[in-house]
Symmetry: C2
Subunit: 469 residues, 2 copies
């Protein structure tokens, strides 16, 4: 289906409404669009055209925000590069995606061999570009690589249709008011951040863009009354909770939690403090959240990720894997038919996560299927053990993974970040009281910090690799 | 695109939320769905199957509400019959649409020759029906006949896609909150009413269904705090304004006005009373409102119908006709290729209405193109004259139409409903002060009432017919 160009339509609908707030400066949709048009002209002068694969390596800043829109206006496909990757990892993605050109923030230019720096682009003379008047929704909008637990990263294809339905499905659950705005302190090279930018033009609401997750600054914004919604991952939420007791400005109506389940402790604190936490489940392949708690159920269904957003569907396969269906789900992986075929079964997308639906149809995500520890034929869910371990106050962070074992196949090992009062014997005592013997970690390893992704997810696979070395 | 069955999806998402309030009785989506399934089984037992054309002749009541859903669940196409039509008019539609079966409210059975009465249906033994699991959005959902100003009525085809996009476009403009509900006192056999039912299952909000527009009852509901939104036509709004001074409960956040522009007086009263009036423009062919005032602009752009909803588009043709494009627009007229071809130009739908866009892109609807009076080469807009005439307090209602004239081609004639203090000379005085001489009605005809449609629109064509007799 051919749809009107979203940004241009938004400018016609609400030119004077705020589109972006970055470093305290507000810009309207009209102003953003003018800046985007100029950048599109400069990109055009540099030879960038419709359907070309263009990589973007930037930070959460105004220029990257504008470039994302400018590339969409030209009809280019944007490969979003994670700026925390190594030069080698980036080189793999550029090659795998057959990238035509790279646009790179000056501060990140060491990460690539060749490309157009932001300042170079700005100095380029403007040439009137050919902008898309309408958007064919089946066209590819963006590519984001995800690192599975095994094998090479795969380039997730996101169409305009995927982004559109994600935004519409979200609004049917979270609602929309005239006072809405979305605070984006998650990376815009991730779907969590990019989806906020897409919602902004579809809903006509401002993005409060933050370069870093600075909990003091974020808390200040949440208290200002200007922000209605924020997307966070667990580690961000934990930092926010430590920053300040109590709730935020009443205009904050949604704290959308993604990127993995939060501990019961964190959820209970939010409940006590009346923080409007909404848990969700989603991934790059689903163009962000696809299963989300309805705000009305947020307090009754603590620990659940909610229900599949309208019109998506969720079901659990016989082996416990969470399967999804819906129009926000990727058509597949770039240049990787094998991975695409492996990701779907009978039209359902295989998430690789294990979970269950309760009697009311609410999804509870247990863990990555690959994180499941099978010990002597028993299924052991790392999160269950982690919840027990976190209840010991001296443990600040924990991750439980399986370690190969000749007798049992695999046994649980706990990696913990602890404070000075930690005593291993006390922790084992808590485990023995709360866990069946086969679930008790065979080993507790004290570490300074746990390996995490750019978005703050614990990388269990990196811990597992230690055992295989 | 195949989408999940809307009602069933809604039941999975929010089974315990209120779906319908009729005659004070609340029913949840779960309860509604159970009743719908039983009715679908009875319809199935009566031989009603997917893709059959089934006419429905009912009132705004629970049974008609359930039947609309039941027919959708079976995948039948529903021809919505206007219950104010004559037996002869209904017979034309039944024949033209090649209807397989008619379901009729007992009180309306005299309007048809043969069909299944509601009570007969209820007495039918249930048989397990074949319900649609998924909905192909390109399928035809409903047919509604519209009477153009000339020729036979045409059956407007409404697909599921049309209804879906209408609901989504509306939410992107009006927003959605947990407290929302929609009061439906407009006929559900019209798109204004049916679209409320569709939004209800897509948004998960209650429909407050009223059999009649009883202004006392409606005012009571608007003061109750239970209703956030109501759809009205001008005559209903005028009755509401007479019923009570001041505004309603603060939970009433949208009074959506459709079915023709309101007078400046009415708009000013709403502004004074702080009534959240939102003007809109739409028709059966656009699956309800497609151009609507954003609530934020409601007070700055009095008299405007607003902007084309996301992602629809509006433009004005060289001759002043309002043209529309967007996914809620009908694919055409049933069994009437000629009318379908005539209704579109270069992919744009020709509304038959005349209007203009102001400098900010807001639409102002002037009138039906067919109502335009061309007198001695000058365009005369009846609404302009009507606004002047209404400013004379002794005039309660007015309609201006063209009358054939040998010298000028056409001249304006005013039909007025007046009270006892009316003096023709005074009215002419007002006209002479405010209107160019060629715009002054050549004749003022006092009538007891003006001819109106079921939805309260003045039927100018009926007045014009008087001159051609």
């Amino acid at each position: 289906m051919d749809m009107t160009n979203w940004l241009q339509k938004r400018v016609r609908l609400s030119p004077k409404e705020t589109a972006l707030v970055f470093e305290g400066k507000e810009e309207t949709f009209e102003e953003i669009n003018q800046a985007v048009e100029i950048l599109a002209g400069k990109l055009f002068a540099r030879g960038i055209r419709k359907d070309q694969m263009i990589a973007l390596l930037g930070k959460n800043d105004r220029m990257t925000f504008l470039l994302i829109h400018a590339l969409q206006q030209l009809g280019a496909v944007t490969l979003f590069l994670n700026n925390r990757l190594t030069k080698k990892e980036i080189a793999f993605q550029l090659m795998n995606a057959e990238v035509k050109e790279v646009i790179v923030a000056d501060s990140l230019e060491d990460k690539i061999t060749t490309g157009i720096r932001y300042t170079e682009l700005q100095e380029t003379e403007y040439e009137k570009p050919e902008l898309l008047e309408t958007w064919d929704l089946t066209r590819v909008s963006s590519i984001m690589y995800t690192s599975g637990t095994t094998g090479k990263p795969k380039g997730v294809i996101q169409t305009y249709e995927n982004h559109w339905w994600s935004a519409v499905s979200s609004v049917l659950n979270l609602g929309l008011t005239e006072k809405d705005s979305w605070l984006c302190a998650v990376p815009i090279f991730h779907i969590s951040g990019l989806s906020i930018m897409m919602r902004s033009i579809i809903y006509g609401i401002p993005v409060y863009l933050e370069e870093h997750f600075d909990e003091a600054k974020i808390t200040q914004l949440l208290e200002s009354g200007h922000v209605s919604t924020i997307s966070v991952v667990t580690s961000m939420l934990e930092r926010l909770l430590k920053m300040k007791e109590g709730s935020y400005h009443p205009n904050v109506r949604t704290v959308l939690l993604g990127g993995g389940p939060a501990s019961k402790t964190v959820l209970e604190i939010c409940k006590q403090r009346d923080i409007p936490l909404v848990q969700s489940f989603g991934m790059t392949e689903t163009a962000s959240q696809i299963v989300t708690l309805p705000p009305k159920d947020a307090l009754n269904k603590i620990g659940s990720s909610g229900k599949a957003l309208f019109p998506a569907e969720v079901k659990i396969a016989d082996d416990g894997e969470i399967l999804l269906k819906g129009p926000s789900i990727t058509p597949g992986y770039l240049n990787n038919e094998e991975a695409t075929n492996a990701a779907f079964t009978d039209g359902w997308f295989k998430t690789g996560d294990i979970g269950y639906l309760d009697d009311d149809g609410f999804l509870f995500v247990l863990e990555r299927r690959s994180d499941l520890i099978i010990s002597g034929g028993e299924n052991i869910y790392p999160t269950e053990i982690e919840h027990v371990i976190t209840s010991y106050g001296a443990v600040k962070e924990v991750a439980v993974v399986g370690k190969p074992d000749d007798k049992w196949g695999s046994v649980p090992v706990a990696y913990v970040v602890v404070d000075e009062v930690f005593k291993e014997a006390e922790l084992f005592g808590i485990c023995e009281t709360n866990l069946a013997s086969y679930k008790i970690p065979k080993q507790i390893v004290i570490v300074d910090k746990l390996p995490k992704t750019a978005s703050g997810k614990i990388q269990r696979n990196k811990l597992k690799e230690r055992h295989s070395k």
